[in-house]
């Protein structure tokens, strides 16, 4: 792809803690950020295991902005944005505010605030505003001095990848010189209850691609990725080489059993990146741990890659399913892994399902610098999205 936008820097707040360092450590050690929590003690959820952002981290963020103490979606996203800004090189200082844009990716924004409003409990003005994802985007842009284009993308679990696609397009079209793509979602009673009614949660915690997997685990957090042109950030090593999306046109909550919708999105991404399947070195899967998704996904990979499915893994056992933040955080996993020369494993995978391709990585593979990676996600409503990441110079 001509003038592929580069990934200049990242920022994150996840179940593993604040920043990229705990994320990197967990990738190397293949550990999981999922744990049993008592945030919803007294509620009858199918599981209390999730990728909760540690309370001590939330408290730290609240202390820096007391006016937003009950607005965690904002706090998490702002922290990630701040980190990405600080991690950028000097080039960013030369970009005026009007040329800096924001794309927010979220499925439910601050739905916890909506719960309180409906229940007649107190709610700050900011939190109430952030019930609306569009206003959350506006407020984040204002807080970070981003006066260029601002948009909010919300397409279920593929929001993050579609937000990255939109940000990349803005860079290519020259309507912004620096675009912060930030994804955020919370583990709330609302979403836990929702997946409980669908009986989709694994009570013990998700085990992607495992023979005895029974469901997913939710996760929360925020991830921010800063995009710009290669010429502005010459030291950036990874770019967004191509993208694609599709709809299964099959069922609202179950993916097309044959994986054809996801395969279509992957083919579109490879085509837009002018990349043949054979040169993909690693795939970061959607891999939620539900019986249906993981089987479908393996079929999709096999239909695209034939006999030679590249090594692939799921990060849902690492962070939980972070919904609107997933596409951004899981792309970040690819970025960090590539920088450290390893292919991520699949935390919590114990025994591979024989129906899943043997190319799945349970453990990380060190000493590999992937040249091209594929990131995929699938979501409610039959949506699918894929992103191709490539090393500079390829």
């Amino acid at each position: 792809m001509e003038s592929a936008p580069v990934i200049a820097s990242c920022g994150a707040v996840t179940a593993l803690g604040l920043g990229l360092e705990p994320l990197e450590r967990a990738l190397r050690e293949n550990t999981s950020g999922l744990r049993a929590g008592n945030r919803f003690a007294g509620k009858r959820h199918q599981s209390n295991v999730a990728g909760y952002v540690p309370e001590v981290v939330l408290d730290e963020l609240r202390a820096t902005k007391p006016s937003h103490a009950d607005a965690p979606a904002f706090l998490l996203a702002e922290s990630a944005l701040r980190q990405a800004e600080q991690g950028a090189g000097d080039w960013l200082k030369a970009v005026p505010p009007a040329r800096r844009g924001l794309v927010l990716s979220t499925t439910k924004a601050d739905v916890a605030a909506l719960e309180r409003l409906v229940g007649g409990h107190s709610c700050s003005v900011p939190a109430r505003r952030h019930v609306l994802p569009g206003l959350l985007a506006t407020d984040l842009a204002e807080a970070r001095g981003l006066c260029g284009p601002v948009e909010c993308v919300s397409v279920a679990c593929v929001s993050g990848l579609l937000a990255l696609q939109l940000g990349a397009r803005w860079i290519q079209r020259g309507i912004a010189d620096a675009v912060f793509v930030v994804g955020v979602d919370l583990v709330t009673d609302f979403v836990m209850s929702g997946f409980t009614t669908l009986k989709s949660l694994d009570p013990e915690g998700c085990r992607p691609f495992d023979r005895t997997r029974t469901g997913l685990s939710l996760g929360e957090g925020a991830g921010a990725i800063l995009l710009t042109r290669q010429t502005r950030a010459p030291s950036a090593t990874l770019n967004i080489a191509g993208w694609g999306s599709s709809n299964d046109a099959n069922h609202l909550t179950g993916p097309s059993r044959d994986g054809s919708g996801l395969a279509l999105a992957i083919m579109r991404a490879l085509e837009s990146a002018a990349t043949a399947p054979e040169v993909i070195d690693y795939v970061n899967a959607h891999g939620t741990g539900t019986p249906y998704n993981d089987a479908m996904e393996s079929l999709a990979l096999q239909s695209v890659f034939g006999e030679r499915v590249p090594p692939f893994s799921s990060s849902k056992g690492l962070l939980g399913h972070t919904l609107g933040a997933a596409g951004v955080l899981e792309t970040m996993v690819c970025v960090i892994a590539a920088a450290r020369g390893l292919l991520p494993g699949t935390p919590r995978l114990r025994e591979r399902d024989p129906a899943v391709s043997a190319a799945v990585l349970a453990e990380p593979r060190a000493g590999v610098i992937p040249g091209r990676m594929l990131k995929i996600n699938a979501g409610f409503g039959g949506t699918n999205a894929a992103l191709v990441l490539a090393r500079k110079g390829l």
Binding site: T197, L198, K199, H251, L252, T253, G254
Partner: protein, 92 residues
């Protein structure tokens, strides 16, 4: 049993928003799923919710649900076997 079956037909229609279906359209022995009614996995979950709410029956496993929803008659038999008394001591 017959009045229970009629009651279940009405509840199924309500719970699943089957606008164009009348109780008399239900064939009691016919499978509820995988037929012309076009019911899907979300409908199965709605029926699970309905059973819990209206009959106090909790289904945890998919296999139990599949057997119970095999037909309207199968559902009737399942409910009769499982039904718990209401808190005021009467049968629901």
């Amino acid at each position: 049993m017959e009045s229970l079956i009629q009651e279940l037909k009405t509840k199924i229609i309500e719970a699943l928003h089957l606008d164009t279906v009348k109780p008399s359209d239900f064939k009691e022995e016919e499978p509820l799923f995988g037929t012309g009614l076009g019911l899907d996995s979300i409908d199965a979950l709605e029926l699970v919710v309905m059973l819990e709410r209206d009959y106090g029956i909790v289904i945890q496993e998919r296999e139990v649900a599949e057997k119970a929803f095999a037909s309207v008659r199968a559902l009737g038999e399942f409910v009769l076997n499982q039904r718990k008394p209401c808190s005021d001591g009467t049968q629901s």
